[in-house]
């Protein structure tokens, strides 16, 4: 528990002299102690490794069509074989290979969409909370407008018009889901601005950007990270929904949502087609949510 005492005994002073570093370290140590966070993180790491090492995990090509081998069941069912251990789909493509390669789409969309919305939302929230007045009114009104659209409806309509592609998916999810960061950062900055260390900064003649960059941003970061983990889970779910509706990445590229959409008509005869990709999404999103929830407990108990 008393990290600092232990550290000064056997580590160089320079390392303990930086409070921000040791605070992150302490958080890291607490995170490691709780099994739930670790289980979640392990699930995320597993899926990430799967997407990186995809070619090593399967010898089948995810887009190779073999009509003569279509609709083979998984290995534990009658008629299944180890050749295609999770079965094949309606045109004879290996389901395991498609699941493994499909993780790339989900993770890429989740990660990059979150980066875009995080940067955009934090910047706008910072401006609104810092400058208040007309800037705040304008940004808050835009937030109200964005919040009036059911997220999926706006994404759906925009992608339909722009044409479905991986890049458009990332852009649309990133540009529609930034409002939460903006709201959060805005209210935090409004509170922070009144505090003494910020006021002291003004008294010392610091410029706006310096106060924002050096003081406000680092203080908002924990809450923003918490939101980002949960937003990544949501972005992955949203990608799968859009792909399910046929507005995801274009057809032969394996995507979990689209696999379920093409598997749905076979639900009575080939249950594995619509079921297995859902389990893959469930594992990924559950892992992110579990790890994210632990991070929330540690970094920012206020957010719920």
């Amino acid at each position: 528990m008393n990290d600092l005492g232990v550290q000064t005994a056997d580590r160089p002073l320079a390392e303990t002299a930086q409070p921000p570093v040791s605070e992150w370290k302490r958080t890291y140590r607490k995170f490691v102690k709780n099994p739930v966070g670790i289980i979640g993180l392990a699930m995320v790491v597993m899926i990430t490794l799967m997407s990186i090492a995809a070619p090593l995990l399967t010898s089948h090509d995810p887009i190779d069509v073999h009509l003569e081998k279509k609709l083979q069941p998984p290995v534990w069912q009658e008629g299944g074989s180890w050749e295609h251990w999770l079965g094949t789909d309606e045109v004879g493509r290996d389901v395991w290979a498609r699941l493994v390669y499909g993780s790339r789409i989900s993770l890429a969309v989740g990660f990059f969409a979150v980066v875009i919305s995080l940067v955009l939302g934090t910047a706008l929230g910072m401006l609104a909370g810092y400058f208040r007045g007309k800037t705040d009114f304008a940004i808050s009104t835009v937030i109200d407008i964005m919040m009036a659209f059911p997220f999926i409806l706006l994404a759906l309509a925009t992608i339909a018009v722009m044409g479905p592609s991986l890049l458009n998916m990332i852009l649309v999810l990133g540009l529609t889901d930034w409002t939460q960061y903006a709201r959060l950062v805005r209210s935090e900055v409004i509170n922070l601005r009144e505090q003494e260390f910020i006021q002291a900064g003004y008294a010392l003649g610091s410029r706006h950007w310096r106060i924002i960059w050096k003081h406000l941003l680092p203080n908002c970061l924990p809450s923003v990270i918490v939101l980002a983990t949960l937003a990544m889970a949501r972005a992955i779910l949203m990608e799968s929904s859009l792909s399910f509706l046929g507005l995801g990445v274009s057809s032969p590229t394996p995507s979990w949502g689209f696999m379920m959409s093409t598997g749905r008509p076979y639900i009575a005869t080939a249950w594995w087609l619509a079921t297995l990709p859902g389990i893959a999404i469930l594992i990924t999103v559950l892992g992110i949510n579990l790890a994210g929830d632990r991070i929330r407990d540690l970094l920012d108990p206020k957010v719920d």
Binding site: I145, F149, G257, M260, I267, T275, G278, L282, L286, D304
Partner: protein, 304 residues
């Protein structure tokens, strides 16, 4: 701060913003005419259609026309139904409202008792089970939940019809799918606000008066924890309308959600615009009234 005047101004601006987004949506791809006509349309057909829809006018003129007609509820004629778009949307609205209201009811029936239970029985085995259920519910793609219910209760057990609308039996699966989607959030809010209230002095007073634990929890605690609970239920109407887009498509439920997806597939953009504006209007109205109610019920919030 002139809260009421500011709020009214903001409502007007949000309505304006919603219509503006709906207008520019169809211009995102460059030429809306190519978007709406089939690829095999001849040059003459394209020009005739462009003139008929007014797309040959300057963009600013089109925009003003769109806004002035939208104010009067005129979104143009649906390309597929050959009826005013608004009328087509309003005809489908009862089905969507029926589904979302029933789903809200179900989610409250699931979330409130379980949330109270897990707040009262902290750190018990059953509380942990509830937590696991919450995480699973949050991590399942909504359409997958629907497909799995369909597989179990429709295909395997033959208890419930798999699609369409008509009887109560038709309503159960789609409503439950939506309820599973929103209940985790409600449950978490119920749990955290109950936990907070149960620590208060007046609860100790109530207990020390010798009141039955049931009376303390349901009468004294729940009443005081109700503001955030009602707020979150209100805000979730927007989320439910978004979820209805996917759920209605899975279960072929003839509501606005299914209508907008079909309209997107058939490039019936006047209809898409009408759907987007009407759904956003409902969500915005809901958000504003929940906000107003929250301010009214909670004197601690003054402005901002």
């Amino acid at each position: 701060m002139g809260t009421l005047a500011t709020q009214c101004l903001r409502i007007v601006l949000v309505l304006f913003g919603i219509s503006t987004i709906a207008f520019f949506l169809i211009h995102l791809s460059g030429d809306p005419v190519l978007l709406m006509l089939p690829p095999e349309a001849t040059q003459e057909e394209i020009e005739a259609f462009r003139h008929q829809m007014g797309f040959d006018r300057p963009l600013s003129e089109q925009y003003i026309n769109f806004l002035s007609q939208a104010v009067r509820g005129d979104f143009g004629e649906s390309l597929k139904f050959h009826q005013p778009s608004l009328q087509v949307v309003l005809e489908r609205m009862p089905a969507t409202l029926e589904l979302t209201l029933f789903a809200t009811l179900l989610s409250v029936l699931i979330a409130v008792p379980l949330g109270i239970y897990s707040a009262v029985n902290r750190n018990s085995l059953s509380e942990n089970l509830v937590t696991v259920a919450v995480f699973l519910g949050q991590s399942m793609p909504i359409f997958w939940t629907g497909i799995m219910l369909m597989l179990l209760f429709g295909v395997k057990l033959h208890w419930l019809p798999v699609s369409g609308r008509g009887t109560w039996a038709h309503l159960l699966m789609p409503a439950f799918t939506l309820a599973v989607w929103v209940a985790p959030t409600t449950l978490r809010i119920v749990r955290s606000s109950m936990l907070e209230v149960l620590q208060q002095d007046y609860i100790r007073t109530a207990r020390s008066k010798g009141l039955a634990e049931r009376v303390v929890i349901y009468k004294h605690a729940l009443k005081n924890a109700s503001i955030p609970i009602i707020t979150v239920i209100g805000f979730q109407i927007g989320k439910l309308l978004g979820g209805a887009v996917v759920t209605e498509t899975v279960f072929a439920w003839p509501g606005v959600g299914q209508l907008v997806v079909k309209a997107i597939y058939t490039a019936d953009y006047p209809l898409v615009q009408a759907c987007v504006v009407i759904l956003a209007l409902i969500v915005a109205a809901m958000n504003f009234s929940v906000d107003a109610m929250y301010r009214h019920l909670n004197p601690k919030i003054k402005s901002g």
